[in-house]
Amino acid sequence: MHDQEETLAFTEECEVAVTVNGQRYERRVPVRMLLSDFLRHELRLTGTHVGCEHGVCGCCTVLLNGEAVRSCLMFAVQANNLFLTTIEGMAGTQSELHPIQQAFMEKHGLQCGFCTPGVIMSVHSLLHENPDPTDEEIREGLSGNICRCTGYQNIVEAVKLAAERLRPEEVE
């Protein structure tokens, strides 16, 4: 009996409809499919990376209705009818990078690039909540994303630069 239930849980499928980067997607997927796998392998949005599958490294960070979440800690079905933004949606279709991406390039805020999409999504969320963070607040805000290459030095610099450029008074 128990085995049967288990097998059912493994094979059961459901409809999922999400809006990612402004585009609506409808798919039928296994109930147990992680949101990260859904984005990467069903929607082929492979910019969202998976570094630990237990919610620590932050590589899989995406925005769910504007808030940074770990897509490896959610099932795709939990995002049903919600709005997601992934790294692919940051710069839109424009040729120019988003100011956060631009700042990372100018400040050498990435090396292997694997953690970068997750870091950028977290920074987006951080600067939305706190447009003028101190160095300490930036470091605290980044502490949910592990980077093994940069030692965070230039990431912090990039966030400072991006914050400066994104602050409303300085945009005008």
Binding site: F10, P30, R32, M33, R40, H41, R44, L45, T46, G47, T48, H49, V50, G51, C52, E53, H54, V56, C57, C59, T86, I87, E88, M90, A91, L97, Q101, F104, M105, E106, H108, L110, Q111, C112, G113, F114, C115, T116, P117, I120, D135, I138, R139, E140, L142, S143, G144, N145, I146, C147, R148, C149, T150, G151, Y152, Q153, N154, I155, V156
Partner: protein, 799 residues
């Protein structure tokens, strides 16, 4: 004057792609008909396999294949021994799947291939393995016991290797030295932990009988060669590509990991592409680790603090197998003398098997251990003689006019350990200024008066980099004037697409944006070794420079013929090739490339313009004159260094210890680094930053904890703590540039440097901070609880 690219802090060419999420890491590769593999791994550190029943797994719908050792046929061979050594008398390497015995938790036992990874993992649960547990060697202590269980039944005493090296006559010096001290020092296990785990996609093309593998590796060419041999395929029918790789730090220089054989095996058998992506739990228990050594060091010195002789005996934990030979302990032995004038040195090490994940190089590769030992020695001398720690180092430094300095040992590459150049005092002077060393003791005293414990620590090191055997490069000008440059080394974040473009652009007078660099694709360039030992910029960079120079000379030759000028009067700049002092007599580099390729059919704007110029007159001989050699503007070149080049550096930090919690915070961190001429200072600084962060992890946070049954008890990021932005302090970096005389660019390696002295300086800083209690750090890594314990011990002894 043309733009100088070499040495310029230019932005990276790879960034826009990576920043948009458009990188291609292995798991981003999707192929039609792709199947997914998962590995069953041993839950026991040591056990006999009595039986495996995979029938239920095979019966699960969606499962295509279950492989156990007996299914592998002639592929069931131990992995090749990568770097044999005469002292490695008992090498043992791993089978792709364990046959009748497992020797560490995580060892591969079976592989399932299914329609999805989810299903493949379901099937793993249905495989029934009958294990008979055996006694476990979980530590060096157990491994060396007289009645120790044996990791390999046919390896007595668990001893894989034993190597003795000696310089001078240390025994005689010890017999008459004014001061002799002896210490036991311990370095425990850690791991590289790149953010991208390992992974492979293998595709068998039955039509062309061709195998293609995309692997997250640092060594695609050796893997290509190996796969061709294992599967009896011609080498040109095997293509191995390292696409974007999400960090390696040495873990991915190891080959063959079992999955790198099993995945192509399955793809060939099934006639469908197969993907295997390692998850983080698997990475903790199946990707190679490093660092564990126990040293007994004796050192002799005189009243002035001059180091007279060192005797170092150490045990090195190899884990369950020795696929990478004894490279790590050899590097430790050779790195130990450091920047100091040590003429009498005895080094002896024993490599022991344990029931743990195998050991192969991780960033630093034996060097952090050596530097920890030697810098403890320097501090020990200072403490004994009541001298300033930096003064003791300065008294022992090799002077700038003493290079080349032959340490007298055989290095990891079989060549001499011979320092090519350096200026250690200059580095230390810069560091003192950065840390305001002169005034620190006042700062420390006033902090202590307020009950705060500050300490300063310094770590000096010399790092063997840029070793052979060789690397090569192929540089080719395309008809639109852009340049394609390719080499066998891979990039895992080091920015080869930028730095190698800088080297080429410098020679060919083009913008770096017009240089397209391909690395890590055996179909683009199939000669070479890989990215390890801080050697890419030095060895592949030099090859790239030589190839680009040949192309420049050919462009000059071709243009000289067209303009009827002397080749030495032809200049290359801003994408043009022109006669010096007559810039109107100019062609674009693309036009010269077309001219160098005498086709009947030429396409594109450059070709049309060229025809309009009517430069080509009737010529008597062959269209491709013999002296031109090959058509086009293309050349390859190889560079093989006479021996490694030795970079150096000194780092220092001011820390504060919280006596109530054992927590340590960094108040200042400074690094002065000498890697010869800098190709791109921004990128070198980034490498140093990252190394320091890993060093801080290895000094205070990251310790792999194995219990008595050989289980890794902290195999997750919740429990194995990688430093975050909140733990890594701001790092100030400065450079000394002592060019290497060994290569045409004057460069030395930079990739590993940052990590090397961190444990040493951390120990030194804690000793200094806790000097009032007489704490002496003899182990790494520490953590707050352990530091608190050491403090309590010191306090109770002091009473």
């Amino acid at each position: 004057m043309a733009t100088r690219w070499f040495g310029a802090p230019v932005q990276r060419l790879e960034d826009p792609r990576l920043l948009r999420g458009k990188g291609t890491y292995v798991d981003d590769i999707e192929l039609p008909q792709l199947l997914h593999a998962a590995l069953l791994r041993s839950p026991h550190a040591h056990a006999k396999i009595a039986n495996i029943d995979a029938s239920a797994a095979m019966a699960l719908p969606g499962v295509y294949l279950v492989l156990t050792a007996v299914d592998l046929g002639e592929v069931l061979e131990p992995s090749p021994l990568l770097v044999p050594h005469a002292a490695l008398e008992q090498p043992r390497t791993q089978l792709p799947l364990a046959l009748d015995e497992v020797r560490y938790v995580g060892e591969a036992v079976a592989m399932v291939v299914a329609e999805s990874r989810y299903l493949a993992e379901d099937a793993l649960d249905l495989i029934d393995v009958d294990y008979e547990p055996l006694p476990v060697v979980h530590s060096l202590d157990v491994a060396t016991r007289e009645d120790a269980p044996l990791v390999h039944a046919d390896v007595p005493g668990n001893v894989a290797a034993h190597l003795v090296q000696q310089v001078g006559d240390p025994d005689a010096i010890f017999a008459s030295a004014p001061h002799v001290l002896r210490e036991s020092l311990l370095i425990d296990r850690g791991a590289a932990m790149p953010m991208e785990c390992r992974g492979i996609v293998a595709q068998w093309d039955a039509l062309e009988e061709k195998l293609t593998c995309w692997i997250s590796t640092q060594a695609p060419i050796p893997i290509r060669n190996g796969l061709a041999a294992i599967f009896h395929l011609p080498e040109h029918k095997v293509r191995v590509v390292a696409p974007d790789v999400g960090g390696g730090f040495g873990t991915k220089i190891m080959m063959f990991y079992p999955e790198e054989i099993l995945t192509p095996f399955a793809a060939r058998l099934l006639g469908r592409p197969v993907k295997w992506i390692e998850d983080r739990r698997e990475h903790f228990i199946s990707a190679n680790q490093e660092r564990s050594q126990e040293h007994e060091v004796e050192y002799a010195f005189d009243e002035q603090g001059t180091l007279l002789a060192v005797r170092d005996r150490f045990l090195h934990d190899a884990g369950a197998y020795t696929p990478y030979g004894i490279i790590v302990p050899i590097i430790t032995a050779c790195t130990l003398p450091g920047p100091y004038r040590l003429r009498h040195y005895a080094s002896e090490f024993t490599v022991l098997y344990t029931n743990k994940v195998p050991v192969s190089p991780y960033r630093g590769a034996g060097r952090p251990h050596a530097v920890f030992v030697m810098e403890r020695v320097m501090d020990g001398i200072a403490r004994e003689l009541q001298l300033d720690r930096l003064e003791v180092r300065e008294r022992n430094f090799i002077a700038p006019d003493e290079f080349p300095w032959d340490v007298g040992l055989v290095y990891q590459d079989g060549g001499p350990t011979k320092y090519d150049s350096g200026n250690y005092q200059a580095g230390l002077e810069k560091l003192k200024a950065l840390l305001d060393y002169e005034h620190f003791h006042e700062q420390q005293a006033s902090a202590r008066a307020q009950g705060r414990y500050l300490g300063i620590g310094i770590g000096c090191y010399v790092e063997g980099t840029g070793i052979g055997p060789y690397e090569g490069a192929l540089v080719s000008v395309e008809s639109d004037g852009r340049v394609h440059a390719t080499t066998g080394v891979t990039s895992q974040g080091q920015a080869h697409a930028t730095t190698l473009a800088q080297i080429v652009a410098e020679q060919l007078g083009v913008a770096i944006q017009d240089v397209m660099v391909t690395t890590g694709d055996t179909h683009a360039f199939s000669w070479g070794v890989g990215t390890y030992a801080s050697r890419s910029a030095t060895v592949a960079g030099s090859a790239m420079h030589l190839a680009a120079r040949k192309v420049r000379e050919k462009a000059q030759q071709v243009a000289a013929e067209l303009f009827e000028a002397a080749p030495e009067d032809i200049e290359l700049a801003v994408g043009k090739v022109f006669v010096r002092d007559a810039p109107h007599r100019a062609l674009t580099l693309g036009q010269v490339a077309i001219s160098a390729n005498p086709l009947r059919y030429a396409y594109g704007e450059n070709a049309r313009k060229l025809m309009g110029m009517k430069l080509a007159g009737p010529r008597p001989g062959p269209a491709l004159p013999e002296e031109r050699g090959a058509p086009g503007l293309e050349a390859s070149a190889y560079y093989s260094p006479p021996h490694g080049s030795f970079a150096s550096g000194v780092h220092g930090a001011i820390i504060e210890v919280d006596l109530t919690t054992g927590q340590v915070s960094f108040l200042k961190y400074a690094a002065v680094h000498d890697c010869g001429r800098l190709i791109n200072p921004t990128i070198v600084e980034g490498q140093v930053h990252g190394g320091v962060a890993q060093g801080i992890g290895g000094a205070f946070y990251e310790r792999l904890v194995y219990d008595e049954t050989g289980q890794l008890s902290n195999a997750s990021f919740m429990d194995y703590l990688l430093p975050t932005a909140a733990e890594v302090p701001p790092i100030v970096v400065d450079h000394v540039e002592t060019p290497s005389p060994l290569n045409p660019l004057g460069v030395k390696g930079a990739g590993e440097a940052g990590v090397i002295p961190v444990a040493a300086l951390f120990a030194s800083a804690i000793d200094d901070a806790l000097a009032p209690f007489g704490v002496r750090i003899r182990e790494m890594p520490l953590h707050p609880c352990r530091l608190y314990e050491l403090l309590q011990e010191a306090r109770s002894q002091g009473k």
